[in-house]
């Protein structure tokens, strides 16, 4: 199945591991990704807090760029996902806003009909569109013995409960069960990681991050799986700051779910961006799964 693909800025640089693993996993699972030509930044949380019309127009440009023959757009970054979805909905519900956005788009020779493109996250595409039996079929290296804590964060599951349940999502849990891993109980799976609070109030953000790490340790997870660059950054890059702040000694690897998914599908760690994370994941992966085999062709 073909989907338009919107990597977003984070996936270009700081979360390149996510982009690389998304593409690798998608290829194996027969999800054809067509990257949008000349896509632009979605503005994350900043634009909307400044001016709604500008924000919507800038975001809608990406929706407008989706080729007419494609009607689904995958955005792996949670903030991009939320922004694209929110814009589509705003344009649909507020006809006046929609008209004004289209006026702005017209200046660039574009237009967008709200509702035309369905914004998806890769997780629900794998879970719903590819499905259990297809995924299980492709597992080359079951993740037996690996204890994973699936972390969903906020923006994909709320406010729209389209990708997964808002209160207690389970699709990543299901996916990793199919991949043979041991999915630990992770009650804070949909609690906020603090997002941009790291820039605004470190104590607040650190506390939120601490809770996520604490819970993973409590339930003896080997690593935490993320589906958002911000969440991964917060929990990984700030882990040492959190330790400093609270006098804790967390050392929990935090990686993107597609990276570990790729391992199960037989890909080598180097193809999946491992090594880019700050708290290294390879030690625990090797300990549980053994050394990586040579790339298998399947």
């Amino acid at each position: 199945m073909k989907y338009a693909y919107y990597p977003g800025c984070s996936l270009e640089v700081s979360s390149a591991a996510y982009d690389v693993s998304v593409r690798a996993v998608a290829e194996l699972l027969m999800i054809e990704l067509e990257e949008l030509d000349d896509w632009n930044c979605c503005g994350a949380t900043e634009y909307f807090s400044q001016d709604e019309l500008t924000a919507c127009s800038v975001i809608a440009r990406n929706l407008a760029l989706v080729e007419p023959r494609l009607d689904q757009l995958i955005a792996p970054c949670a903030a991009c996902y939320l922004n694209l979805k929110k814009t589509d909905r705003l344009m649909a519900e507020d006809a006046a806003m929609g008209a004004r956005v289209n006026e702005c788009l017209a200046a660039g020779g574009l237009s967008y009909q709200p509702g035309r493109v369905r914004v998806r996250h890769l997780l629900d595409v794998i879970h719903d569109d590819v499905g259990e039996s297809a995924v299980r079929d492709k597992v080359v290296r079951p993740l037996a013995g690996l204890r994973v804590a699936p972390y969903y964060g906020c923006q994909v599951v709320r406010p729209a409960a389209e990708a997964d349940c808002s209160e207690y999502p389970m699709k990543m849990d299901a996916l990793f069960t199919w991949l043979g891993a041991e999915v630990v109980h992770y009650p804070v799976k949909a609690h906020c990681c603090g997002g941009h609070m790291t820039q605004l109030s470190e104590p607040m953000a650190f506390e939120l991050i601490r809770r996520l790490l604490q819970s993973a340790v409590e339930y003896e997870a080997d690593l935490i799986l993320c589906m958002c660059p911000m969440c991964q950054l917060n929990m990984d890059a700030y882990q040492s700051r959190v330790n400093g702040f609270f006098q804790t000694s967390f050392r929990v690897p935090v990686v993107f779910f597609t990276q570990v998914c790729g391992l199960a599908l037989g890909l080598e760690p180097t193809r999946l961006g491992f090594g880019k994370e700050i708290v290294p994941a390879m030690p625990v992966l090797e300990a549980r799964l053994g050394a990586a085999p040579a790339a298998s062709s399947r």
Partner: protein, 683 residues
């Protein structure tokens, strides 16, 4: 000879007169519409003076037709028909115009509303000229009654009718009557033991000479109409011979197959494959659950059969279809509990010590799986703290918008039981406290004094994600205490969710089977929410208890009694008058094409093979008129809704539109008035 019309335009106080210029409408009707002899307006036509006015005019002015422009015919059609009858004018020569619900109440534009009113009055005036005198058809009321649902409402209705000397067939889906009330421990606010007050009534029903108890049975089909319904009941096979069974219980004791009892014990206890749902079951005749029985699964065992001292086990028993004739049906089909897994933030089904209200009732019940001890899922640990969450599934736009009426009181009851039976602290997390019936507020005060804690706030989450070591092993209730204005995390051992009452899963289709409909929330629609809560739009079908909407036990009892009283009234009267709105076929003109035969869902049209014509069986005809519209030759007449009348009504309603074909007004007289003429020439 021309008809003599009386037109009466009601002010209804200011309800109509506030928007429609009623005096103008009356004046206009008198001068514009042909054959109008009298045209008046009056403050309240439905008052005795108003009705008297009509009766006097009929006598003095020799009126042959009456039009009353007032409220909806659903309210006062009977009133004005009766007035006509009193003055010896056939009641079907009276027509109402809906100037209130359809006109004055839905508009603020006085000019437009008045114009609409005129059109509606003209329509009725033209129609009524073609109306014919009709006689309602008396139908004998069968004194037997069918009550569906053996919960407290159904039991009450049954006993009232049976005690009055009339026969009742009580049909209940599960193996015993008693309903949800049998599962409860205590009832609020008196803290009576639920079973103690229920079982005497259950026994009475079981032993009553005027009651035929059909448990483990389903109502499959209903046909006919008020006074004479034909119903088909499927008596499911119990695999036990009821005549031989003494209720000794050996079969249950010796049955080797034990399964979780998801029904009566709410999943907390066990039962056998052959079982009675609870010790005080009525009838005390067990049932074999085919899904869990070893014999039905793989052909082995038969222990019950071998050990039964009276040879009452009948493994080859089959379902039986019973056909009955009854005069009225009372539906008291009750409710089911909301599935709390739909609110995963509360952890039900995932966190072991989160219980539903039903599970908690079973815990408290002395005959329950823990012999009345309030303990955690492990079956032995007593909680040190219990949280009770109100409104789980109720007052929730994502699930049920309504309030389930009983949960606040039940929560107080649970609080009391926790304080009585354990040393635990107990918290209630509520949005509003709703103890609004007799003795309820006092019960709330009592709990305040007993030391129950009340937190006003809808719980956001019940989680085992701890933030501090002290929280380990507890369930944390995360809530915004809106009276304190602060977030709180309250660690407890046990959480009880006050789940909503929901309509039965098959309520809608079941209702349609009986010819009644459901509201948007899924409860059965009563005839009038204020003034007629137990009758439905279908004569002869009544509703009682929670199936009409969430309510507590006293209200259910009252509705059961009310429905029974209505039925008793009809039985005492002996006959009920059916509206003569039926179809009839002109046999001389019928060509025998039989197109109409298959259109009738009530099989009210038969074909006479000898004469080769179709014929309507009046007793079965419900008057929908579909055959009337379908007949290619136009030989079927729908009484009181025939083509002439409706076409005249259409003509009248469009009196101020420009007609293109004057002779298209088949059957209606042309308005010879100036206004219509000028409208004609204007376009």
């Amino acid at each position: 000879m021309a008809e003599r019309l009386g037109i009466y335009v009601c002010h209804c106080g200011s309800n109509i007169a506030g928007t429609v210029d009623v005096e103008e409408v009356a004046r206009w009707a008198g001068t514009t519409i042909r054959d109008v002899v009298v045209s008046r307006d009056y403050k309240f036509m439905c008052s005795s003076l108003g009705q008297q006015m009509i009766e006097d005019d009929i006598g003095q002015q020799k009126l042959s037709r009456v039009v009353v422009a007032a409220c909806s015919p659903h309210l006062h059609e009977k009133t004005f028909r009766r007035a006509c009858a009193n003055a010896e004018l056939n009641p079907y020569l009276c027509q109402m115009v809906n100037l209130r619900e359809h006109c004055s109440w839905v508009s603020t534009d006085k000019v437009a509303a008045t114009a609409k009113a005129k059109a509606l009055v003209y329509a009725a005036a033209e129609r009524v000229k073609w109306q014919e005198p009709l006689e309602p058809m008396p139908v004998k009321v069968n004194p037997n009654t069918l009550v569906v649902g053996g919960g407290i409402a159904g039991i009450q209705a049954t006993l009232e009718l049976a005690d009055a000397g009339y026969h009742v067939y009580l049909v209940e889906r599960s193996p015993s009557i008693g309903g949800h009330m049998a599962q409860f421990d205590k009832t609020f606010p008196t803290l009576d033991c639920s079973a103690c007050i229920l079982t005497p009534k259950m026994s009475e029903v079981g032993q009553h000479e005027n009651v035929t108890l059909l448990t483990y049975s389903e109502l499959e089909e209903v046909s006919g109409s008020v006074g004479s319904f034909k119903v088909k009941i499927r008596k499911k096979a119990r695999y036990v011979d009821e005549a031989a069974c003494t209720g000794c219980g050996i079969c249950t004791e010796k049955c080797p197959r034990r399964v979780i009892d998801h029904d009566f014990e709410a999943g907390l206890g066990y039962r056998k494959a052959i079982y009675t749902p609870f010790p005080q079951a009525v009838p005390r005749i067990p049932v074999i659950d085919v899904a869990s029985c070893i014999w039905f699964d793989r052909g082995k065992c038969r222990a019950c059969e071998k050990l039964c001292p009276t040879n009452a086990i009948a493994l080859d028993q089959e379902d039986k279809i019973i056909e009955l004739e009854v005069g009225n049906v009372i539906l008291a089909t009750g409710w089911q509990l909301f599935d709390s897994r739909k609110l995963p933030q509360f952890g039900y089904g995932r966190l072991p010590n989160v219980f539903t209200n039903m599970e908690f009732e079973r815990l408290c019940n002395a005959a329950g799986p823990t012999s009345g001890k309030i303990v955690l899922r492990d079956g032995k640990t007593e909680p040190e703290s219990v949280a009770i969450l109100h409104c789980v599934g109720s007052r929730d736009v994502n699930h049920h918008e309504y309030c389930s009426a009983v949960c606040c009181m039940a929560a107080l009851k649970f609080g009391h039981l926790v304080l009585e039976k354990t040393k635990a602290q107990v918290y209630s997390f509520y949005i509003d406290m709703r103890p609004n019936q007799k003795g309820y507020e006092e019960f709330y005060q009592r709990l305040l004094e007993e030391g129950m804690h009340f937190v006003r706030g809808k719980v956001a989450e019940v989680t085992d994600a701890t933030r501090q070591p002290a929280e380990r092993g507890k369930l944390i209730v995360q809530v915004e205490d809106t009276l304190l204005g602060r977030q709180r995390r309250i660690p407890v051992d046990m959480v009880v969710l006050m789940g909503a009452m929901e309509p039965q899963p098959d309520a809608k289709e079941f209702g349609l089977k009986c010819g009644i409909s459901c509201s948007m929330a899924g409860w059965y629609t009563e005839r009038h929410p204020k003034l007629d809560p137990v009758a439905t739009m279908t004569d002869g079908i009544f509703i009682a208890g929670v199936c009409q909407g969430p309510k507590d036990i006293p209200a259910s009892v009252v509705q059961g009694a009310a429905a029974a009283a209505r039925v008793q009234g009809m039985i005492a009267k002996g006959t009920v008058m059916i509206e003569p709105i039926v179809a009839s076929i002109d046999e001389k003109a019928c060509s025998g094409c039989r197109i109409c035969n298959n259109l009738c869902p009530f099989s009210a049209i038969e074909f006479d093979g000898e004469k080769k014509v179709s014929r309507v069986i009046t007793a079965l005809c419900k008057g929908c008129g579909t055959c009337v519209a379908a007949c290619p030759a136009g030989v079927i007449t729908g009484a009181h809704f025939n083509n002439r009348q409706i076409l005249a009504e259409i003509g009248g309603a469009l009196w101020d539109a420009s007609p293109v074909l004057e002779d298209a007004r088949a059957g209606a007289d042309e308005p010879a008035d100036e206004e219509a003429e000028s409208a004609l020439s204007a376009r």
